[in-house]
Amino acid sequence: MFAYYLDLALRSFRRNRVLTTLMVLALALGIGASITTLTVLKLLSGDPLPQKSARIFAPEIDPLTAASTTPAEKLWRDWGNLMTYTDAMNLLHARKGVRQSVMMLTRAKVTPQEAGQHPFYSDGVAATADFFAMFDASFQYGGGWSANDDESRAHVTVIAGFLNDKLFGGQNSVGQMLRVNDKDYRIIGVLKRWAPQPRFYSTSLGGRGYGNGDAVFLPLQSAFADKMNPQNVNCFDTGFDIAQLDTAPCAWLSLWVELASAADAGAYKTFLSNYVAQQIALGRMHHPDVDLPDLMGYLAQQQVVPDDARLQVNLAFGFLLICVVNTVGLLLAKCLRRSREIGVRRALGASRGAIFAQFMIEAGMVGVAGGVLGLIFAELGLWAIRHQPAEYAKLAHLDMAMFFATFVVALIASLIAGLLPAWRACVVAPAPQLKAS
């Protein structure tokens, strides 16, 4: 029966080529736009550490002066988990998490060893030892540094795979020296490709939200001792010396904590509250508010996903809705025009269910065709997006899930569009149609 309905549908398409093309084209455009924007949104709102994001937390405190009237929620939205040096170090050394790391971003000037080559700037991270293990950054060669290296200001560095390719042709460069900001560092590790999207650890530190991974990783204390500047400094009181950031009333470091399980968050939050209460008692701090969002909660709070990306999804689905309504209209026009054919089929014994099924299959075929063409439009759309200037542009590719989603969306859209025409078709009374002819 199914094959017979397919054949009927094909015959009907052949009879109304223009109308059919229009229907498929409109549906495909709507689906192409929706899938393109959904792919981008999925990319932008993805989970950067899918295995463990529920156990990674961003402690947030309010270091502002007693006079400040800024609500803590607003402060955290602007600053995220930024802290002063004192607070970051106190919380780091308390070691209340399974792992914890304090970090900043810095512009790292890399001077190639060969004479005559120009130095260049790349993205640098200065962090304490747990950074790599906590954020699942795995090594191609060598490994990271220890807490002792950090405290003793060891001149060691880890570089990204792409920098290793650029400087050492992809060879094992562990043991080689690298000149960073005019200081010599010994390479102890080379990372495999590591570029979590979004770059969750970077946004509060003044870095990009998406795009390439960082190139150079240094122990925090070594970088600080070598006077490397953080990318983002937020000062909240006067009378400080920017050259003495460790004592200045400025927030410029961020702290991330990994807990054994998400259930431990309550205990850590209590610890954080107690810490702040103790600092208030000492007169160092003035506001008791603390927060401990997990990684995904933190990204939501920071509104990392650009408004434009979400607006585009809304717009695309609005457009798809218009296309579906359009398809309903055209399918309806087509099937009402075939009232006589329906009358004949009914008179020859086809049940209402059979007529309904026939027209739903016809609608479904429009959907499948729309899906295939929509897929082409989506690939075109993503190709166009990859040529956009946005920092996430290069990452916009259709994945398996979205590939299947295209057909699911197409089929659902066309079947919804087919419901009304199919229903109108199956309630056609056979007698008047036969009489008319």
Binding site: D237, D241, I242, L321, C323, N326, L330, A333, A390, L420
Partner: protein
């Protein structure tokens, strides 16, 4: 034209009529909001920026040795000034639309202090020659004197020791809405107070800094002598000399201190890069609007054609009893006008609610009322245009059809 018979006929075709109304309503709602968003973004791109955008080149230097920075920067500026065609040179801490900058919350007296409504202001600092290089337009008061540049040292908290400041018109308006800004004071914290000596036409900040368009012109300008941190060089020339001057400048600076990283670009490039995302959003919105209107138009053509085909006999009878071709045309045009009217009425309501929703969930302002009638007119015209073909086909139905039984 009588409307009564049209309404009677539509009552017999409730579903197709309803579909046309729905399609027009949805198109109207989306069109309103999309066009509004396009308008907002175009307004953002065209915000006034009273500097010589076409004559400025930006040469950034990174990796300056902080111990010798003061002398190095003075030497670099002298070298750049010698390039033929350069009319002015200055070192700045940042530049408009450069995307990274120094900002502070400010107050108008040390006693007042900061609160959550204190405006966040971009702090431009430049060495002597800054106003001439940027091409600032003085509206009131004066620019800085030579001594004010020479005496102003960059402090440990990255604020200059000077006591004078120039503000943009918008910032003056924000801080002293009812008074003349000249002679008033701006305080950054409790130690750095500056007296306003000049008001200039609006200059954009390095970025919106989270404040949105309303804060985009809140900038102040301070004089400073060369220091580490004040290391973006701006060079002014005629537009056609820019490329050559950038090339020469970069070569010269790299030769002077081989350890630094020099990067040169025209301000036109800076602007293009800053607004690249905004521009691509405008194109995408415009594309969606066009395609959506096309789909809507085809939908109207399809349904109307179907319904003309169904009524061939009735049309033939009308023609046989005396209706002219024009009458038939008018019939379908009026019918479409009625459907469009219902569509845009619902559509405007929908557009307004979508705007309210977007205002709640996105950084969106209220849509001015005139967007509603404007897109209503657009859809009326679209409907009339779409119905033209089917209506003409209907008008061509010969009266003889009435006499045939099929």
């Amino acid at each position: 034209m009588q409307i009564q018979p049209i309404l009677a006929a539509l009552r017999k075709h409730k579903i197709p009529a309803f579909l046309i109304v729905l399609e027009i309503a949805l198109a109207c709602a989306v069109l309103c909001n999309a066009v509004f968003m396009i308008g907002q973004r175009i307004a953002e791109i065209h915000l006034p920026n009273a500097i010589d955008e076409n004559g400025i080149s930006v040469i950034g230097v990174q990796g300056v040795n902080p111990d010798t920075a003061n002398a190095d920067i003075a030497r670099d500026l002298a070298a750049l000034r010698q390039i033929p065609g350069v009319s002015a040179v200055a070192a700045l801490n940042m530049y408009p639309l450069g995307n990274s900058g120094w900002n502070s919350d400010v107050s108008t007296s040390p006693a007042e202090g900061l609160n959550k409504d204190s405006p966040n202001v971009a702090e431009y600092m430049f060495t002597q020659g800054g106003p001439e290089t940027l091409g600032l337009r003085l509206l009131q008061g004066r620019l800085f004197t030579d001594a004010e540049y020479a005496d102003s040292k960059l402090g440990a908290n990255y604020m200059p020791s000077t006591h004078v400041v120039i503000v943009t018109q918008s910032l003056a308006q924000r801080l002293w809405p009812d008074a003349n800004a000249l002679g008033k004071q701006i305080w950054v914290g409790k130690e750095n107070g500056y007296t306003v000596v000049g008001v200039i036409a609006d200059v954009l900040r390095p970025s919106q800094n989270g404040g949105g368009i309303a804060h985009f012109h809140w900038s102040m300008f301070l004089p400073v002598s060369p220091a580490a941190g004040i290391q973006v060089y701006l060079v002014r020339s005629t537009p056609q000399d820019r490329e050559r001057i950038i090339r020469d400048g970069v070569t010269k600076l790299e030769a002077l201190s081989p350890w630094v990283v020099v990067d040169g670009k025209t301000f036109t490039d800076v602007r293009d890069k800053f607004f690249a995302n905004t521009r691509s959003m405008v194109w995408m919105l415009a594309l969606v609007c066009v395609v959506m209107l096309a789909v809507t138009a085809f939908g109207i053509v399809g349904l109307t054609s179907f319904w003309v085909g169904q009524r061939r006999r009735q049309i033939g009878i009308r023609r046989a009893v005396g209706a002219t071709r024009a009458h038939i045309m008018q019939y379908f045009q009026t019918e479409n006008f009625l459907l469009s009217t219902a569509g845009v009425a619902i559509g405007m309501l929908l557009a307004f609610s979508i705007n309210l929703y977007l205002m709640q969930h996105y950084q969106m302002t209220r849509m001015p009322w005139y967007y509603l009638p404007a897109s209503a007119i657009a859809l009326w015209l679209l409907g009339q245009f779409a119905v033209l073909g089917p209506a003409r086909r209907a008008a061509n139905v010969p009266p003889v059809v009435a006499t045939r039984s099929v």
